[in-house]
Symmetry: C2
Subunit: 139 residues, 2 copies
């Protein structure tokens, strides 16, 4: 991918408050859910907080294949990343992702057993802006 397009894709992901996580659900149906965009490492890794008891976690444990989508409806710009998700309860990353308001979802605080972290690792992507559309690999 050209440097300029990579930079624009990265910018799009960075300015997005939410993104959509696609997973493989029961009976072969794709599922998608909006996730609060909290932390990333370039376009390769993303982290999200979630309830351990959620439907999403069950799907990820069963099938790690997933996608992540960012979109700006004003600029008609979009980014889809393909990758794999895994669930972690590692203390350090739970602390990093914690913010005021989280206690609404995890009443027992940062150590709440119902508080888990989804880590998404991308290996391929597609970025489009208007009629420009490029596929790229992430190593």
């Amino acid at each position: 991918m050209k440097k300029k397009q990579f930079r624009k894709a990265l910018e799009l992901s960075r300015r997005s408050k939410i993104c959509m996580l696609g997973t493989n659900g029961p009976e072969g149906y794709p599922y998608a859910k909006a996730m609060l965009h909290l932390k990333q490492n370039g376009l390769k890794e993303f982290w999200f907080s979630t309830n351990t008891s959620s439907r999403r976690v069950k799907q990820i444990v069963k099938d790690a294949r997933s996608c992540l989508c960012f979109v700006d409806q004003d600029s008609i710009e979009g980014l889809m990343l393909l990758g794999h998700t895994r669930i972690t309860q590692e203390a350090s990353i739970r602390e990093v992702l914690w913010f005021e308001g989280c206690e609404k979802y995890y009443p027992r605080g940062v150590e709440d057993p119902d508080y888990s972290v989804i880590r998404f690792k991308a290996f391929r992507g597609n970025y489009y802006h208007g009629l420009c559309n490029v596929d790229f690999d992430l190593k």
Copy 2:
């Protein structure tokens, strides 16, 4: 689903300029793409325009199982519908979905062979707003 929640889910879909269409892609990965929200019939049917030559159309022809997501990031409100998609080039629906600006994507106009319509038919849904989360069937 309670009437109030159904109404709120319907309102969310109606005010959304875009939504995310999830499909089953190659090698068992879920794919998601933002679609311009053009026409709907309650929560049961939705129509979108797309390029016949697109990756999306190939995926839908191979596997009709799909999902549709609407989200309002300000109100923390979301709707996911599960259903099936099919591709049509019926003249009447192509005309209904046509608007000024479409010629950018379909230069030969409403009869452009690269202009297709995706029809999504839902059978089940999930609506959430804050901590409220309900599943419902659509008959």
